[in-house]
Symmetry: C2
């Protein structure tokens, strides 16, 4: 395994969602669902100044994702699409990306809102959400602009042991 | 090493930037800098439908990042900040995240604009940029709203062998 392949969790997520079916497929559909990011105490110092940000990126490992496949039927469509044009969990590297609201920080515990992540998911990184870098509200969104349905919750299509993220 | 730690590159980036100093610290400051994402041929089928998206997320491995540290002086400030409140490269898991413009796709080659990534960087994942999920233009951005300077290019502070991403 090449050297870049070494990952270590910096913490884990506590969320109300124990299985994919019924889990919001994106924070945008998660309403007021709250979760806790439990950062390992040895990384707590790195959280300084984060409280000034309204939103944060959570980068996490979809530890219950099914094996990769290159064509998938996403939650919000009724035809197969190329995997990399979707947010489906069955990726070569099952890395999840969610922009969640940061509601509070106490020591090494972050309370977050709009969580769409399964309980117990390992967290790999936290980054501040910076509109200047991350917000492009007019960006054209391909098939998702004319998707076949308006599903907001996951079902069993990515396996009953699949991860929640992401139609 | 736990099972979630297995990563595999799906391709690599070709960019004009050979070293951190002088590399844009974010796509927002990269202007017209173009790069090529060379996806391994065995994953090319997964690129279907991606051409409908104006922007894509590149998730990549900061293979030249220095060792992690929890307090850093970011490119755009003059005081130390908590690592997770910055986009600095010296992270426990040096995963880079950039929203770039998708200019064209030919077979397994993506031409992208606004690239802020070092030449040869391994790519871990590609996701479509979806404004409904990703764009929050009014989100409060902590210290970055009153940062100490307006630097747009990296310097040597994260090591001459450090990765470009991210003050």
């Amino acid at each position: 395994m090449p050297p870049f392949a070494r990952l270590t969790p910096i913490g884990s997520i506590r969320s109300p969602f124990q299985e994919p079916a019924g889990t919001p497929i994106q924070p945008a559909f998660a309403g007021e669902a709250e979760g806790i990011v439990e950062v390992l105490p040895e990384y707590a110092e790195g959280l300084r100044d984060l409280d000034g940000f309204e939103r944060i990126w959570l980068i996490y490992w979809l530890d219950r994702a099914p094996p990769p496949r290159l064509l998938v039927m996403p939650f919000r469509d009724d035809v197969h699409r190329g995997l990399f044009a979707t947010r489906a969990p069955c990726r070569p590297n099952p890395i999840g990306l969610s922009c969640v609201r940061l509601l509070g920080i106490e020591r090494n515990l972050l309370t977050v809102g709009g969580v769409d992540i399964l309980d117990g998911t390992p967290v790999l990184d936290i980054k501040p959400y910076v509109p200047q870098f991350d917000a492009f509200p007019q960006s054209r969104a391909g098939w998702l602009e004319k998707g076949g349905n308006n599903r907001t919750l996951a079902d069993h299509r990515f396996g009953s042991d699949g991860a929640a993220d992401k139609g």
